[in-house]
């Protein structure tokens, strides 16, 4: 093979075959897909993202959420596992509650970019909009370990603002104990000596707050009692401060709530 033309033509043809087969054929096959309407009176599905949700998609992209979260629900026949009786079963995604059906190409016709994902260090988000409420999402985005202590998801506390309360606590304020809000992004706990100092200062107030909601008394002279009171105090809200979502946090949340890809029945998704 001493001739450049042979190498050039051969590389051209082999690569052109792959370009044609793996890129252009699917492009032609899928380019004309239209939204679905079971009945002319229904809203077509899917619909393009709009407004805040569209802004939120950019934040989802910017923070690289894709690198741990996929957006695709796989078929009931995908994968295998064995139940307690030793029978082989398939299809974990739907059984995990990640969607009502598998996702198909039509679910993505308005996605730019289409973030199918390649990694599940976190759960699938194709249908996350129907799984959690807005307030849950905010707290979870602020610090995921407030709900799941095993979580390795980053805290996105920088999308939230900690501010002094002027007048009433805002309706939008995150409902979170001081354990999470004193040092946003981290979990905060006082050391033994700090806790002693706090008890010396405000012990009576904390105790009366505790007694208002509890059936039994706590003996703060014992180490266990002190620890129990601290655990209670950490779950109470910080006085005078609140955590509120920024526009970016609201946008990201709007995007997550708009992710409902595996709900509306599509004829081609039937198995």
């Amino acid at each position: 093979m001493d001739r450049g033309m042979v190498i050039f033509l051969g590389s051209l043809l082999t690569f052109a075959s792959s370009w044609l087969g793996l890129v252009l054929f699917p492009f032609w096959q899928l380019q004309g897909e239209q939204p679905y309407q079971a009945d002319p009176a229904d809203d077509p599905y899917p619909r393009p993202l709009q407004g805040k949700a569209l802004e939120g998609k950019k934040i989802y992209q910017r923070e690289g959420c894709l690198y741990c979260h996929s957006q695709q629900v796989r078929s009931e026949t995908f994968g295998n596992w064995w139940d307690e009786n030793g029978n082989e079963r398939t299809g974990a995604d739907i059984k995990r509650g990640w969607g009502l059906r598998r996702t198909v190409s039509r679910d993505y016709i308005y996605d730019r970019p289409t973030m199918l994902g390649t990694m599940r260090t976190g759960p699938d988000l194709a249908n996350v909009g129907s799984r959690y409420s807005e307030s849950w999402q905010h707290v979870h985005t602020f610090n995921p370990r407030a709900f799941n202590d095993w979580s390795v998801m980053p805290s996105f506390a920088y999308l939230y603002r900690k501010e002094k309360i002027v007048g009433e606590r805002s309706d939008n304020a995150l409902k979170l104990g001081r354990e999470w809000t004193i040092d946003p992004g981290y979990r905060w706990r006082p050391s033994a000596s700090e806790w002693d100092a706090i008890l010396a200062n405000q012990g009576a107030a904390i105790m009366s707050q505790f007694l208002a909601g509890a059936a039994s008394d706590i003996d703060v002279t014992t180490p266990e009692g002190k620890k129990r009171l601290m655990e209670f105090w950490l779950t109470t809200e910080e006085e005078g401060f609140q955590i509120v979502p920024t526009d970016e946090a609201n946008a990201l949340n709007a995007y997550l709530l708009a992710l409902r890809k595996a709900e509306v029945p599509l004829p081609e998704a039937k198995e």
Binding site: M1, Q31, E63, T118
Partner: protein, 490 residues
């Protein structure tokens, strides 16, 4: 090449003068590409350690948007794929093409502009992502202002490689040249099509991830792999002074790679909302990869047979042979991994991450390390200043990638099994994975230590700290005179 031992002294001197002239013409651009590659390797390593640490210790450096996991992860990939691997690939392509064509590099100053374009592009990609411009398109995360720099820089390199080839004085075209020519032709096409169909004029819905995986897999398969395989084809015979085992196998290996590797990649969409025939086509492509891989494996390893002891002395050879052996292993693994029943478990897990690193690091990076140990002294006229630092580099890299691969392969496999069983709560999977995430950080720190040793050696060499190149190269230990091949010097 064995024939060279019989050449008269006069011809040997003329050949040496010719090589010296070629190296002199390459010096500026190839050293610039190489130094940039090493720089981005260090940046990429730091980003990798930060991202990896965050996977088991989520409070590490939290609270700063610029240092959040997703951005570190995207920036790492850009730094090592476009900064380190691609710039090393271009340095390798330019130098080996000149050497094998026996032609000097023309207008080398324009290539300095090309390397600058790549550096600007990589800088924009890495820091653009860190400051909030990431695209979340795997391997193509660079903000949209970066690709034009890459395409322009790449265009120049491709044109120059072709020009050198056209001006060749050596009528025989060696296997390394086939791989380089094909790679510099394929990659601009691949990259431009991918950027166009995903960003400039986005294709509908799931066509984007299809193009995305076509690009990702071919980035390794048709850009890094051919040049790295070609490098092994160059270094092994050069250092041990023996011709390649079989010319015909090298032809088979080349054409089978061109045809089949380009068809792989879609198995990364297994179970996804894409036409099923696509995944099947890629599984076929992947299985057919056994042909070129076995051909190349026989050729590389049979050439080495009986000469493995030379890896005790020669750093260039030791790194290259490590890479060549890894290539065989990672390709066998990759072909089997594409099978449906295997992929159903491994997909969406860290098993795939382990596989990708075995390919991009254990194979490609190790071979380029080997090439650098061979090539840089010939360009600077200085030998490496310290055999101990090279030894540190080799062992940290080799042990590091082994720990990385073994840890994440085991963890990732069981992650996949548990993901497929809906009765396993999600939290249990993460708790199970955490120790394996820790092994990755340890491996990353080891490899980064090696990169620091490598960068130190590189800077010392550029600064003129090594001994002048008059005798043989810097060996790990001085070989016995009887085993020293007369060709090993140049």
């Amino acid at each position: 090449m064995a024939a060279a031992t019989q050449t008269p002294d006069y011809d040997r001197q003329r050949a040496a003068a010719e090589r010296a002239a070629i190296d002199a013409s390459c010096r500026g651009p190839v050293l610039y590409f190489s130094a940039s590659a090493v720089f981005w390797l260090l940046i990429g390593s730091v980003l990798a350690i930060i991202a990896s640490t965050k996977m088991h210790s989520p409070y590490f450096l939290t609270g700063t948007p610029e240092l959040t996991f997703g951005r570190m992860r995207m920036a790492h990939l850009q730094a090592v794929a476009l900064g380190w691997s691609s710039m090393a690939t271009m340095a390798a392509s330019l130098w080996m093409m000149c050497r094998l064509a026996r032609a000097e590099l023309i207008y080398p100053k324009i290539l300095l502009a090309s390397a600058t374009l790549w550096n600007v592009g990589t800088f924009l990609a890495v820091f653009g992502i860190i400051f909030g411009g990431g695209q979340s398109v795997e391997w193509l995360d660079a903000p949209q202002y970066a690709p034009p720099f890459f395409i322009a820089g790449l265009g120049i390199v491709s044109a120059w490689v072709a020009a050198v080839f056209r001006r060749r004085r050596e009528p025989h075209v060696y296997v390394t040249q086939w791989y380089i020519l094909a790679a510099v032709f394929w990659f601009p096409w691949l990259y431009t099509v991918a950027v166009m169909m995903i960003f400039w004029s986005p294709a509908t819905g799931v066509v984007q991830p299809i193009v995305n995986w076509w690009f990702n897999h071919n980035f390794l398969g048709l850009w890094l792999t051919p040049v790295a395989v070609g490098t092994a084809y160059y270094i092994i015979p050069k250092v041990i002074g023996r011709p390649i085992h079989s010319y015909y196998l090298s032809i088979t290996g080349f054409w089978a790679l061109a045809l089949f590797y380009s068809w792989a990649g879609m198995h990364h969409l297994i179970g996804g909302p894409v036409p099923a025939w696509l995944v099947t086509a890629s599984v076929v492509g992947s299985m057919m990869m056994f042909i070129p891989v076995i051909a190349v494996a026989i050729n590389h390893h049979m050439t080495m047979l009986g000469h493995f002891h030379r890896a005790k002395y020669s750093p260039a050879l030791r790194f290259t042979v490590f890479g060549a052996i890894t290539y065989t292993w990672v390709s066998f693994q990759g072909a089997i991994e594409s099978l449906k029943s295997f992929s159903e478990v491994a997909h969406f897990t860290h098993y795939t991450v382990a596989h990708a690193h075995l390919g991009a690091y254990g194979f490609v990076a190790m071979i380029f390390f080997g090439l650098f140990y061979y090539m840089i002294p010939r360009l600077t006229g200085r030998e490496w200043a310290s055999a101990s630092l090279i030894r540190v580099h080799f062992w940290t890299a080799a042990v590091g990638i082994t720990i990385y691969f073994v840890g994440l392969s085991i963890g990732g496999w069981w992650q996949g099994r548990m993901l497929n069983d809906p009765n396993v709560p999600f939290g249990n999977i993460i708790t199970y994975l955490k120790p394996y995430f820790l092994t990755r950080t340890i491996a990353g720190i080891l490899m980064t230590t090696g990169h620091l040793a490598f960068a130190t050696l590189f800077i010392m060499n550029l600064a003129g700290w090594g001994k002048k190149r008059v005798g043989g190269p810097t060996y790990f230990v001085e070989p016995l005179k009887t085993t020293n091949s007369p060709n090993a010097k140049n």
